[in-house]
Amino acid sequence: MRLLVVEDNEVVADAIVGGLQLAGYTVDHAGSAELARNVLAVEHFDLAIVDIGLPGADGLSLVREVRAAGNGMPILVLTARYELQERIRAFDVGADDYVTKPFEQAELAARCRALIRRASVVPTGLLRMGRVAIDLLGRQLLIDERPVELTKREWLILESLAHQLGRIVPKDRLLQALAGWEAELTANAVETHVSRLRAKLGDAALIRTIRGVGYRLDETREEPAG
């Protein structure tokens, strides 16, 4: 996995590069949007971390350019400006996620991992995490490469959670996903299906309940990115 860090501050850039290298990634660094543009034109990257406040052309215009060129690689935006508008604009121009400075190395690495994982699903339709593989095109769950029987409702829940890997999916969103299949559906029904799904996953993957908010499919952290 090859990552590009576009950050003008040497101290920040050096720390990010070092941290991500420790996490097992190959990391390149560009100090300006212009340099990044040149590198991106000739090299392939699996993810880019772009600082918004770059000298010259800013990070947002770089993201816009990358998207305009048809490059769909995941982009994580770094922002020092604590502005809601800034974040909204970042998403508007095509960024996939944002992290506010100062950040924890572990958080940045986790965000990168989740973004890469989600992006990797697109060409193959296969989400791999540890012993679990979720085939989103074939609508199948594999544990240790063996298919596991799921009911339609269990699959719909797993699919919703897999699309938002590592993020909370609100309970009512799961309810909406199931609404087409069951006319009279209560929040309790979601819980029932989730607990059955948990039983089938065993200790291969974790569906976490966030009390009163929703559920989250947590990726296992043992497998380093290569």
Binding site: L22, R81, Y82, K101, E104, Q105, I210, R211, G212, V213
Partner: protein, 445 residues
Amino acid sequence: MTIARRLLMMVIPALLALLIAGALIDYRLALIAVRNTSDQALADAARASVQLLGGGNGMGQLAAPQRAAVADTPDTNAQLLYAIAAPDGHLISGSTLLPRISGGSNPSFADARINGRDLRVATLRVPSTSGTTSITVAAPTAYRAQALRAMLSGHLLVDFFELDGVTLLLWIGVYYSLRPVRQLGAQVESRSVRELQHIGEAQVPGEVRPLIVAVNRLLELLQIANGAQQRFIADAAHQLRTPLAGLLAQLELLLSKPAAAGMQADLGTLRRALQHVAHSANQLLVMARAEPMSVLPERLGTVGLLAMIGAVVERNLDRADLLQIDLGADAQPAEVLGDAWLLEDLLNNLVDNALTYTPAGGHVTVRCGNEAGVVFLEVEDDGPGIPPSERLRVRERFYRLPGSPGAGSGLGLAIVEQIARVHGADLLIETGSGGQGARLRVSFR
């Protein structure tokens, strides 16, 4: 003091003085008029008696008994007294008490006091062949005073009503001409501190316009200063965050290197100190952001609290896991009008506070909903709680509960209170349900 009052207070005494001066002049004029009229009447009476006696030459033929009769009855109470004196000076007829008035004019007039009565006396000299006969006539001045009173009271009454009328008209005039000024005042007063656009000059009276122009110039300066403050906050955020991010990330990197194995404790302390600096800088910037002047109307919108709770819980989940605290929610759909960014900071501070003070194994629950038409947002924990005696002080900037753990900035609840205030909401600090922990509720009135 209002302009209207000042104007009336200046004008009414002047009007009163004018009225008094007018009354005095009226009195003098009436006095002259009444005297002239009564003198004329006396002169007429004197002349009439001359006619009656057949001219100056017949005077001497008046019978002696008549003389005596008249002379013996000096009735000073009569309406009209008279005395006719022969050229030699002896009284022919009438009252002996009347003085003869001499003077340049004919008849001559004078005031006299006879038997305690004030009289006006006129002496007409009638020349004849035997000399000059003088006819003296007198009338009480009481009539004159009566006439004067009647005349004056009429004048004064008219003057008094005139003053009333003028005052009323003045008041109405002042009230209506100052109406635009009052409207302007109400318009300015109804503005919030954030509305800094110009005051319209069109409807304002000319006298007030320079003031409005000056105020508008001041508003412009305020807008410029406000913009500068906004930019400063944004720049300061950038300037502080980036190096802090670099320092922290470098330190974390160092911590994960084998060479740092022997220095884990020291580096950990350093890291916590840096995190504290980063947190404090952040809180100060949020505090500045939440100043009423910094809250921009264009940033206000409908904020869904349910989704916001989801985002804030998600953001704090890793920390809650680390502290072994069960962070959850119990939220019903609710919306408020506000600044989404600030409200998220508010909730984030409430959750951060609860996580800081709740021991491992505790619970933190975020709630929102609508209770009796009032939208609320609250965070409850089952930690040690906030004693009632401290519930006011914890809202102060930089105040921390005695014995507080960790390295907080002491700004958390001050920020919550500030953001609540700019949203017209109240912060209520209570004991948690079951008599344990703290429940911090923000009610949007």
